[in-house]
Amino acid sequence: MDLIDLTITQLHDGFKKNKFTSVQVTKAYLEQIKKNDNDIGAYLAVTEDFALNQAEKADKIIQAWQSDSEKGSELITEFPLLCGVPCAIKDNILVEGMQATAGSKMLENYIAPYDATVIKKLKADGAVILGKVNLDEFAMGVSTENSAFKVTKNPHDLTRVSGGSSGGAAAAVAAKEACFTLGSDTGGSIRLPASFCGVVGLNPTYGAVSRYGAIALASSLDQIGPITKNVQDTKIVFDAIKGKDSMDATSVEIPNKHKIRNSKFEIRNLKIGVPKEYFAKGIDPAVEKIIKDVIGKAKSAGAEIVEISLPNTKYAIATYYIIVPSEASANLARYDGIRYGYSEILNSKFEIRNLLDVYVKSRGAGFGPEPKRRILVGTHALSSGYYDAYYKKAQEVRQLITQDFTDAFKKVDVIFTPTSPIPAFKIGEKSSDPISMYLMDIYTCPLKLAGVPAISLPVGFVDKLPVGLQIIGNHFEEDKILTVASEIEKLVQ
């Protein structure tokens, strides 16, 4: 078995037993990136020197622990599970001194001036950062085709998309170019690429992970979460990054009552909800069969399967695509060509006479088509005379959709759905039609409007393309969905 095949737990075990060092593992990943990434295109920047430096530091921590434990001291604390483990970061999360492009020409030359809170936590644990990975521009998209720099290809079929917007993060894990990655999820941006690339991705509860240092898309929805090789690793990374942060007023500590003791968990005590609206028209029959088979296996293992209804599902996409552009139009107002980012302020080619010229020229040249589209839609939806029909209406329907989930979780413990109606599509297949792209969020965005957590877990293949099962839990029940996902992972192996 190669070093790049190992999970976080296996690496940790290997470090403890001195089977290999973090420098060796880091070099193996860097080698794989060099060999592989010309084809995949997951990375926007590889930070080799930084990574090797961090790996050396991690090895010192590990060696210190080893010499202490040889002395037989019982009191020494073990080094963190992520110590020495190589990872990659979506390029809309700030790592001090590294680029943070958000996949946009607007931030092509932007260097992060500080660490995001999640990065501070990873660094404190001794994780090794290999580089920054590709995404749709400002995380707007489902395929990375909206990236200003390149399309990340699906490691299972290079003619297909990796999904988005965290396509680089999912492809990097699938192609063994990182042991784990951090992505961000606004409407499905962690789970959809995880499903397309056959890896595990978690969208945490709104507020469970600090967004300080993440480049904002839609602040009532954005969450940072892990993409990993298996469910156990997802739990490890989630536990490392979660928690309240004074720099993000929406972040909270997960209440203790939601912790579950694994010894008490049994799948036969579980009520699994299956929403009928998620198996209506539009789903690929081959995907449906795989998901239904998994539900059948859970039933055979003793779980009770309950058909449920989430009646307002049909309004979710429209609601989501009013709220996100509205919030995005406000968040993207900060790109003004003055404080940072792309600017025409010094361009002598145009006649830049006043402040307004700087704004319109810089933004016109710096943003790509999808951010422009969303800024326009959002500005329109928030403008005088249209606000009630669009934004206010969307907020009302958001409450109905939230109520759907509240009602459902009175009847069931978790909800099973497909992550995507189809497996990874061909590059270019949908790029001319924004609405067909938006519809890819059909199963992933409704729960975001309710703020609940969900995981995507690979459960099968259509031909050679992976299919993901989405497990949705109630607020702050990450422990529950991770435990259920872990059981399902065993059932489908």
């Binding site: 307002n312 589209r373 403008s383 669009y390």
Partner: protein, 96 residues
């Protein structure tokens, strides 16, 4: 179908310069997207309960209103990113 003038009006509100080609594309895209939103007309009426818009963030709240010292390097890093600057300040064009 929304008009070209409407697109240009929204673009102006958005502080975005669009090329002619972009304006034409956005006219088509925006019309299709706004058409799609009409599905919401069929949604049941909901009484807005503003307290339910966000999660219950009892454990959160704002920090104390006090000065937090940051290293000078942070301010330097931030100003260093500005496209036009002078003596540690952002430089802007005149409003008129």
């Amino acid at each position: 179908m929304i008009s070209k003038e409407e697109v240009l009006h929204i673009a102006k509100l958005s502080r975005l310069e669009l090329t002619d080609k972009e304006t034409e594309n956005m006219q088509k895209n925006l019309s299709a997207i706004l058409d799609y939103f009409t599905v919401l007309k069929g949604a049941p009426k909901a009484k807005m309960d503003k307290s339910k818009i966000s999660l219950d963030l009892k454990n959160s709240g704002l920090r104390q209103d006090e000065v937090i010292l940051s290293p000078a390097s942070l301010a330097n890093n931030l100003v260093a990113m500005a496209p036009d600057k002078q003596e540690g300040y952002f430089k802007v064009k005149s409003i008129l």
